[in-house]
């Protein structure tokens, strides 16, 4: 269910690190919690982010969710398709609905993050608690 080439945070962001470039998005669990996404606020190209720093917001009909950068780096690309089509985040959260790309200097940046199996277990616990 959760792609094995991604790493995951407790705040339900995912990151793919390939050759010094980190692609960041929010997970299927996050989009399901949010509901219909209607608006996305993203940083400008060139912005420098630290790990855990807010990179913007994803808004649904009912809620505003702050998004935190899983890794430190400089924003090199912002997904401009999300402006006209924010609902892509609901439809393809791990693929075409990536939020930003970062130039990352530390190759060990994702080592502290959860792998797919650990994240799957993490959200399963949350789903169990929620339905109790």
């Amino acid at each position: 269910m959760y792609p094995s080439d991604l790493r995951y945070t407790k705040e339900h962001e995912w990151v793919r690190l390939q050759g010094g470039v980190a692609t960041v998005g929010i997970t299927d669990y996050a989009q399901h919690e949010l509901g219909d996404v209607v608006y996305v606020e993203l940083p400008k190209v060139g912005a420098k982010l630290t790990a855990g720093q807010s990179l913007g917001t994803v808004e649904s009909v009912k809620a505003v969710s702050e998004i935190y950068s899983p890794v430190a780096g400089e924003v090199t690309e912002v997904n401009s398709t999300l402006g006209p089509n924010p609902e892509t985040i609901n439809k393809d959260p791990h693929g075409s609905a990536w939020l930003i790309k970062l130039k990352v200097n530390d190759p060990g940046a994702v080592s502290g993050l959860m792998d797919a199996a650990t994240y799957q277990a993490f959200v399963s616990e949350k789903e169990k608690d929620a339905s109790a």
Binding site: E33, G35, D36, V38, Y39, V61, V64, A130
Partner: protein, 374 residues
């Protein structure tokens, strides 16, 4: 995401049906309610273009009976219940002696000696205590029989242009001829209901009141009868976006114990000529002196979304707060309501909403934002 809680939430009779359908459940005023099934936008659009089915069993019902029923209702509410005929309902306010809102409600007249009040879920116990207090506070002048009847009722709302077609498939009661804000008794899918042509969406539709043990049967039969019409189960998320587009008030947001009917554009539910009632003197004084603030609707001009509680600025100065703010799925705009100083309340007035680090531009517009085709 909310952490696990040990607070026991109240549940409607349809709680397990909602969970089986995969509804996202939330705590609403102490009740565990479905906020959405297939998505707020899909549910909202279904209600505007076909029909939506809402479990609103959390709403409260208070029965007022006996020879003094009308007197009590007239004293504790703002509208003129003496104008009602049997089988007619009216929107009204339960008021404090300061003329502010304890709750908003629907008053249904069943007979000269029997009224059914439908009140907000979160207020049903305080409303009942308030009415009971005033039932006996006039030196025995009222002494009506009152009952907090919430547990005896489930309530479903069928709303939308195809609501009538859906309900007609399940009843021989002449619902097509039931006028707006009238009600009748009839069987729907074999369940004895009070069938009211009322609703909280701005669409045509019905609210059905019936004993809770029939809930699953009526819910399922309505879904099946409505399927060819496009009937869609809808949660509280869509209920909120629908009522906001129709500029209908929500207690705790547009109205509360600090707001009056004049400020909230609800003067039409206030009938000072009907006789004395709680809050009448305060309201007459405010009418004479003029209100200082007014409830307005606004549309965002920037793409940002105004939300409940955000600051409103006019001319660079703090002017009030957003009472309700949200995307409007049918209108495809971002809208909201707020109290602003009366001198700045005209439609066309440019305002700003503080949204995180930005002062987003908005404009006061006439309400309702949405009105269904006649």
């Amino acid at each position: 995401m909310t952490p696990p809680t040990t607070i026991q939430l109240r549940k409607t009779a349809l709680n397990s049906a909602h969970r089986r359908m995969g509804a996202k459940m939330v705590d609403f005023g102490g009740w565990e309610m479905p906020v959405e099934y297939s998505g707020i936008i899909a549910e909202h659009m279904a209600t505007r273009t076909a029909a939506g089915l809402f479990d609103v069993s959390h709403m409260g019902e208070i029965e007022v009976r006996g020879p003094h029923a009308l007197e009590l209702v007239q004293y504790v509410t703002s509208n003129d219940a003496a104008k009602l005929v049997d089988g007619q309902a009216q929107y009204s306010g339960l008021l404090t002696s300061a003329g502010t809102f304890v709750d908003d409600l629907l008053v249904h007249k069943l007979s000269d000696t029997h009224y059914l009040l439908c009140v907000n879920a979160s207020n049903q116990d305080t409303d009942f205590a308030y009415i009971r207090e005033h039932n006996f506070s006039q030196k025995g002048r009222f002494g009506a029989e009152i009952e907090n009847a919430g547990p005896r009722y489930s309530q479903l709302a069928v709303q939308g242009p195809r609501a009538l077609a859906t309900v007609q498939r399940l009843t021989t009661a002449p619902v097509a001829g039931l006028r707006y804000y009238r009600f009748m008794f009839g069987d729907v899918a074999g369940v004895a209901c009070l069938i009211a042509r009322t609703g909280y969406t701005g669409e045509d539709g019905f609210e059905l009141y019936f004993p809770p043990h029939h809930s699953e049967r009526l819910w399922n039969d309505l879904l099946e009868a409505g399927r060819p019409q496009g009937l869609t189960p809808c949660g509280l998320g869509a209920r909120n976006t629908l009522r906001l587009e129709a500029a209908m008030c929500l207690y705790g947001h547009e109205i509360d114990d600090t707001t009056t009917v004049w400020e909230a554009n609800l003067g039409w539910i206030c009938k000072p000529d009907k006789g004395d009632f709680l809050g009448r003197d305060a309201l007459l004084a405010q009418k004479r002196d003029g209100v200082k603030r007014r409830l307005v609707g606004f549309e965002m001009e920037d793409r940002l979304i105004a939300r409940d509680g955000y600051e409103v600025m006019i001319g660079g100065r703090q002017a009030g707060k957003v009472t309700s703010g949200s995307p409007a799925p049918f209108l495809k705009k971002n809208i909201g309501m707020a109290y602003v100083p009366v001198e700045s309340s005209a439609p066309g007035t440019e305002i700003e909403i503080a949204i995180r680090a930005t002062h987003a531009r908005a404009r006061i517009v006439p309400t309702p934002f949405y009105k269904r085709a006649a």
